[in-house]
Each structure stands twice: as structure tokens, then as C-alpha cells.
């Protein structure tokens, strides 16, 4: 802990009560409460999908909750947009930053609030520069304010955003602004991280900071209080001695493990034949050289937090990104890197995380989407045969139990689960040898999830090797034969997940964070 935990005063600066937010198919937040006290650093932790980012979006007015209330200094607060939130002293520094790349640091600091720098009708850059030096000086940041944002380092950009929020809060006369820092340390090196933590202590004197991070040790060392979310609900609040990384991990993932939710009884024990192999694959700034293999009929889960590099690994396997070293092998033969069409031709499929923007042609029919990869096989005398097309589509619609009134219905009219099944059907139709699935059950209702597990189990029996990344650790464990754990760009551990000897999330989480 950073300093002896301050005596929490009775009145929180910001109080959220009973926040609920639901999206089609998923409840993001369920009766969540949160208090933010003055002059504190509050740590917020939880797995991916626990609800942290949705809660923060509610706090800054980006998202309106379905039910629940907010109060600022005991007065009810309704936020219509992030600008209003900033006017009330609540602001967020996103992980990727919100600065406009072609503006200078100077302009970004004061964007939309330049009136006070007007001299004789024109903006006085000199006045702006002076104020900028002063504001940045408070955070002990030395930088040329005329640098364009896209030439500044992520650390500098972060500081500029923090400085802007502070300056705005002074402008709007907010006594104790609330600054939300979302995974600020992911883009920083060690030295910059240390500077950030020092800055946190300075910030504490005039603001409250909500610090979101998956690096539990950092949170433990810098936060006064730690709030843990899981599955969109409050789980615990820890202060003082209780706040130990191990305890936090435990609370983050819970103890329960629903039996057979992932059709474990159908889990197929793969043979020894390797279908997909990765040797010495690496990409600078994404992941260090790693090697692993997936056998025929095996489901391997890539597990890790944001920033672990797992998404990049999958993209390299699918040819969407070019690795800097190493190669991908299918059935023992190497695959040319950086070419999705080559990967597809050889038999590696890709079920993307965002089916609407990457998985389907929504304005086209179910049949057209399913048949996309096999058009050459549906020809008679060189021309596409509607009869064969319908037959193929019907076969996979039935096989995957896609609920659609007709093969010619537009994909846009399907539910999320059925859309996802359509994407999978497309790959099944082309008889892939290996399939990479990026969060295959995201945004899908419970019934459809079960059907997707059934399809995946069937694929395993047919000898397809699968590499998955799931939404929850439970799903990863339940679905797969093996876990490959990645952390900070490295493959750190392999955990076996045989159906009768599944590890609990608790066992695994310690390797992840």
C-alpha cells in the first residue's frame, strides 16, 4: 500500500448505486455500487468482461445505465455526454489515448477552451504556451509543447491527457476531480511507470484517481482501496492488509465451476498427429519467440490478459499480420506469412471476434455467406449452380442448427448466435484443417452457446485442430484440452485440461496476472 490508508470520510465525492446495463444477450453490469472518496487512489480490478470498462463509461457519460443512480457530492447527477462529465470534474484517460494525432500538445491541452487566450481577436500562442508550461510543470513534465501528438511518446501523451483533465477541472471549479486511468501502464516502460506512480501520489492531493490495471502488484502498491468486479457485479472491496495479490486473484475468478457447461463429456482426446504448429514465431513489441503445436482433434486455448500478445499470435497464424521471425506450419508444411488468402487456401480458418465487421457480409444472404469459400465446388460446366448452392447451404444450416426462415434470408436479420453459427458454418463447409476462434461465444445467448460448443466438439471428433481465445477463464478451461498461458508477450505455462481433471480458475489465474 502506498501510505497508511486514510480515514475514509463519510461523504464520497461520487456515489454510484444500483447501476445496471444490459446489452442484447449479455448483462454487462448488475446492480453495481461504487463510491469514490476525495483524495484517494481507488484500484479497480476484474477479468476481461467483468464490467470495468462499462462501469467507467457510465461514470463519464458515454453510456447511459438502464437503471441506477449517480450522485456527485450528494447531489443527483445525470450525464448525457462525456463533455458534461468533464464539466463535473470526471474524466478518463483511455488506454489508447484520446488525443487527436495531428494537433500539437499545446492545442490538445486546451482544445475547445481557447477563449481565454484570445488577444485582439486572434489566439495568442504565446499565452497558450505559458499556460501549457505551467500546467505541465505541475506534473513535472518537460516537453516541447509544439510537438505534434503523434510524435510524442505514449507516456507523454498520457501525461498531457491527465494535465488537460486537471486543467479543465480547475476551469470548471471542481474541487476534487475524479481521474480514471484505464490500464495506464501497458504502454509504459519501467522508468515511465515509476514516474507515473510518483505522479499518482501528487495527484492524490488534489484529485481522486481510479486506477484500472490487470497488474495486481501495481494496484496493491499504489491504491488505497481496491474494488473487485466479476461478471458485472461487485464482489469485494479490500483495504489495508487484506489487499494482497493472491487474495485478489481468488476473488476475481471465484470458486464455482458449473459442471458440464461446456460439454466436457464430449471432450475428445486427441492423438499425436500435429496439424498446426508454430515455431519460433515472434513479432517485435507484440510477443517474443514462441513455439507450440495443436494436434488433430485438439482444442487449445490461448489465455492471457490484454497486452499478453495472444491476439497478435492468432493474427499471425491467420496471415492477417506478418511476424518478424518464425513460421507457421500446417500438416508439416510451412505457410507463407502475411497472406490471409494463403492461410485460407491451405486450410486455416478464422472466426473473428467481431462478426459484424469482420465475419459476415450482413447485406447478403445466409446461403451466400456459407458458400463463400466453396464457390468453386458448386459449379456445373463452369458456372455456379443455384441448385448446388442451396443444397450446400441447407446442409450446413441444418448441421449447425441455424435458425433462419430461408436460405436466402439476409444475415442481418439473424440473431447474434445464429450469425456466429453462420460464420462457423462457412469454415466448416470448406473443410478446414485448423480453425482459430476469437471469442466464439461473445454476444451470444446461452442456448446458442451450447450449440456452438456442440459444433466445436463435433469438429474435434472430425480431426480439426482448434485454437481458441474465450471470453472467460472458465470457458477456456472447460472447452479446451490444453491451456497455453501468455503473459507480457511470452508463453509462460502450459496447463493440461483433461475432462476429469480440470484445473480451477484459481489455479490458473496466478500465472496470468
Amino acid at each position: 500500500m502506498s501510505a497508511p490508508a486514510p480515514l475514509t470520510p463519510a461523504l464520497p465525492t461520487l456515489a454510484l448505486r444500483g447501476i445496471r446495463k444490459e446489452y442484447p444477450g449479455v448483462v454487462a453490469l448488475d446492480q453495481v455500487d461504487l463510491d469514490v472518496y476525495p483524495h484517494e487512489v481507488l484500484g479497480l480490478v476484474g477479468e476481461n468482461g467483468a464490467g470495468k470498462s462499462t462501469l467507467m463509461k457510465v461514470m463519464i457519460g458515454l453510456v447511459r445505465p438502464d437503471t441506477g443512480s449517480m450522485a456527485l457530492n450528494d447531489e443527483p447527477l445525470v450525464l448525457l455526454d462525456p463533455i458534461q462529465a468533464v464539466e463535473h470534474g470526471i474524466g478518463m484517460v483511455f488506454q489508447e489515448g484520446c488525443l487527436i494525432p495531428n494537433l500539437t500538445i499545446l492545442e490538445s491541452l486546451f482544445l475547445c477552451h481557447e477563449l481565454q487566450f484570445r488577444r485582439r481577436g486572434l489566439l495568442s500562442r504565446r499565452a497558450m504556451r505559458e499556460e501549457a508550461q505551467r500546467v505541465l510543470g505541475q506534473l513535472r513534465l518537460q516537453v516541447d509543447v509544439e510537438t505534434p501528438v503523434d510524435e510524442a511518446s505514449p507516456a507523454v501523451r498520457q501525461m498531457v491527457e491527465i494535465a488537460r483533465l486537471l486543467w479543465l477541472s480547475t476551469l470548471y471549479r471542481q474541487q476534487n476531480p475524479i481521474l480514471i486511468l484505464d490500464e495506464p501502464t501497458t504502454v509504459l516502460n519501467d522508468e515511465e511507470r515509476a514516474t507515473l506512480f510518483e505522479t499518482l501520489q501528487t495527484l492524490k492531493q488534489r484529485a481522486s484517481v481510479i486506477f484500472i490495471s490487470h497488474r495486481l502488484q501495481e494496484v496493491v502498491e499504489n491504491a488505497d482501496r481496491i474494488v473487485i468486479l466479476k461478471d458485472g457485479r461487485n464482489v469485494a472491496e479490500l483495504v489495508g492488509a487484506e489487499a494482497q495479490a493472491a487474495r485478489i486473484e481468488e476473488l476475481m475468478v471465484g470458486h464455482t465451476f458449473a459442471a458440464d457447461r461446456y460439454r466436457e463429456h464430449e471432450q475428445y482426446a486427441p492423438g499425436t498427429e500435429v496439424v498446426l504448429e508454430v515455431r519460433g514465431l515472434s513479432k517485435t513489441k507484440a510477443f517474443a519467440p514462441l513455439s507450440f503445436s495443436v494436434r488433430r482433434g485438439e482444442i487449445v486455448s490461448l489465455v492471457g490478459l490484454v497486452g499478453s500478445g495472444k491476439e497478435s499470435v492468432c493474427r499471425c497464424i491467420n496471415g492477417l499480420e506478418r511476424p518478424d521471425a518464425g513460421a507457421v506450419y500446417l500438416g508439416g508444411e510451412p505457410i507463407r506469412a502475411g497472406s490471409p488468402s494463403e492461410a485460407v487456401r491451405r486450410g486455416i480458418g478464422h472466426v473473428p471476434v467481431d462478426r459484424r465487421s469482420e465475419g459476415l457480409a450482413l447485406a447478403m444472404s445466409v446461403a451466400e455467406n456459407i458458400n463463400l469459400l466453396v464457390l468453386d465446388q458448386l459449379k456445373v460446366a463452369g458456372f455456379l449452380a443455384p441448385r448446388l448452392e442451396t443444397r450446400n447451404a441447407r446442409k450446413w444450416i441444418d448441421g449447425c442448427r441455424i435458425k433462419t426462415p430461408s436460405t436466402r434470408s439476409l444475415c442481418a436479420t439473424l440473431s447474434g448466435g445464429n450469425q456466429q453459427k453462420t460464420v462457423i458454418a462457412k469454415w466448416l463447409s470448406s473443410r478446414v484443417k485448423a480453425l482459430v476462434l476469437d471469442h466464439p461465444t461473445r454476444g451470444v445467448d446461452v442456448g446458442a452457446k451450447d450449440e456452438i460448443y456442440r459444433i466445436l466438439r463435433g469438429l474435434a471428433r472430425d480431426g480439426v485442430g482448434m485454437l481458441v481465445m474465450c471470453d472467460t477463464l472458465e470457458e477456456d478451461i472447460g472447452l479446451s484440452n490444453r491451456l497455453l498461458i501468455m503473459k507480457d508477450g511470452r508463453l509462460v505455462k502450459e496447463v493440461d485440461c483433461a475432462p476429469d481433471r480440470k484445473p480451477t480458475p484459481r489455479d490458473v489465474i496466478q500465472h496470468i496476472v
Partner: protein
Amino acid sequence: MATATNSSTNGEGTGVGWWRRLRISPKYIPMALLTLVACAFAIGNPNFISPYNINTILVYAAPLLMVALGQMCAILVGGIDLSVGGMISFISCLFVVMVPRIGAWAYLLCLIVGVVLGTINGLVLTRVRIPSFIATLGTGGILASMSMLLAPVPVNVPASHQGLLVVVTGSYLGIDNSLYVGAAVFLLFYVILRFLPQGRQLFYVGSNIRMAWTSGVNEARIRTLAFLLSGLGSALAALALSASQFGSNPYLGTPFVLASIATVVVGGTALTGGAGGPFNTLFGALMMSMLQNGMNVVGVDQYFQQSILGLMIIICVGLTFDRSKTPVIK
């Protein structure tokens, strides 16, 4: 930061929101409106639906249909071909100049030139990676001036060779040959788009290019193909026009940029790509021709007609543009 995502989009997202309540897809509105206009013309002047007038409408529609089918291919993949004007001018002048020299081979030559020019457009788009509207603006300008190089003054096919033009100017069974040619071209494009995998891939690329790319479709090749087809359409139109007029001039193609885009858009093909097809364009060509004919019959000034076309394009694009595809409208 994402904008507040409180509304769930249903993925269709075409056109202006308030039409959704009527449950009519907005892309049918242009057709509906124009059908009404057609009826109005017919009521206003019974000559409008006389066989002679219908024939006039169809004959005018034929070359328009050809260039519009090509333009449709470019638009289907999410681009646009602003070079059709220059291409038609250039190829028609080329045809007229070459017919006396190489006879019927001039047909083949012009088709090949059209295909090559279209491919060049496609390559500038996919290899040099410049947006199609700028690339084709550039190539169109170059072609327009090259047609003036070829034929500084209007040129005619000498009487000795006019027999070669009978494939367009003659008639068979009482119907102008140009209609047969138009129908054949329509059939060609229909078969390509409906029954060839590459044609289907045009739609995938236009509908969701990222998905197409990750699914292994060679999007560069498909988009080049789309512009190749556009070049082909322009070439066919150029041949039909110069044959039917027994000659050409370097400005022949100029009105066709506007006309072809209007035809495609009015027919219900969205500029965003991936939606629409040959039948839409056929309908659009018939409507445009009928509109033009009707306006002439009713006595609307020729230049005012251009304004009407311009407005129609704006309105039809407004109705069919799929705004869910881009977060900001630039």
C-alpha cells in the same frame, strides 16, 4: 472513444431512419417514385406510350444500360468510375478512325482497349492505392484530352464502311439491332455477376471488404476486375453510340458520367457497395431513359434536365447509402 451505443443497430442501416417505421426499404423509393412519374407522363400525353415512343425510349436506354452496367461493377465494390466519359469519347473516336483502316477488327480493338483501360484504373486503385474517385478523375481527364488528339473535330464513318455498322443500326424482325445488342450485354453482365465465382466475389468485397480479405478473397484482383468490367461497359457503349450515329466527336462521352451514376443509383444500388445488381441497373436505365424522354415530350428544358438528374442523384444516394458502414460521413 466510442459514441454512446445505446441503440442496437439491426445491421440493415440503409437510408434515413424515419423510413424504417414504414417498413419499406428505402432503396425501393426511387423506383416507386419514378414509376409514378412514368404514369404521370403517360396520362399527360398518350403518345408517351405509343410503340414509336417506347422504341425511342428503349433505343436510348441501350447504350446507357451498357455503360451503367460497367459503372455498377465499380460501385458494387465500393468505388466509382468517373472516367467513363473520357473512355467513351476516346473509344468511340478510336472506333471511327480505325474502321476505315481495319474494318470489322475495329470492334475487337475497341473492346480490348476498353478492357485494358479499365484494368489500368483498377491497378491505380489497388497498386498505387489511390481512392477511385481521384484516380478515375485523373484517367478520365487524360482520356478526354486523348480523344481530342485523336479527333480534334467530329469524325464520321465513311459511307464505304457503313455496312459494318449494321450490327447496331440495322433491324431484325422489326426490332432495332441495338436492342438485341443491349439485351446481349445485359445477359453477359448478368451471367458474370450471378454465375461466376469472381462475380459473386464482387459482392463480398463490396459488402464487407475486410471480411472478404480475411476469408481469403483476393480483394485487389476482384476490384481490378470490377474496373475492368467498367471499362468493358464503356467500350460497348462507345461502340453502340458511334455505330448508331455513324460517327463520333470528342465530347460524346461527357454526359455519361452523370448519367451512368444516376442510372445505377436510381436503380437502387448503394454507393457503399455490395448491394444491388444488374436488374436494378436495367430498371434504372429504363427509368432514366423514360424520364429523359418524358421530360422532352413535356417540354422541360434540356439543361434543366441536368439539374433534375443532379438532384435525383443526391436524393437517391441519401436514401440508399448505408450509413452503418462508416462511423463518420465525410
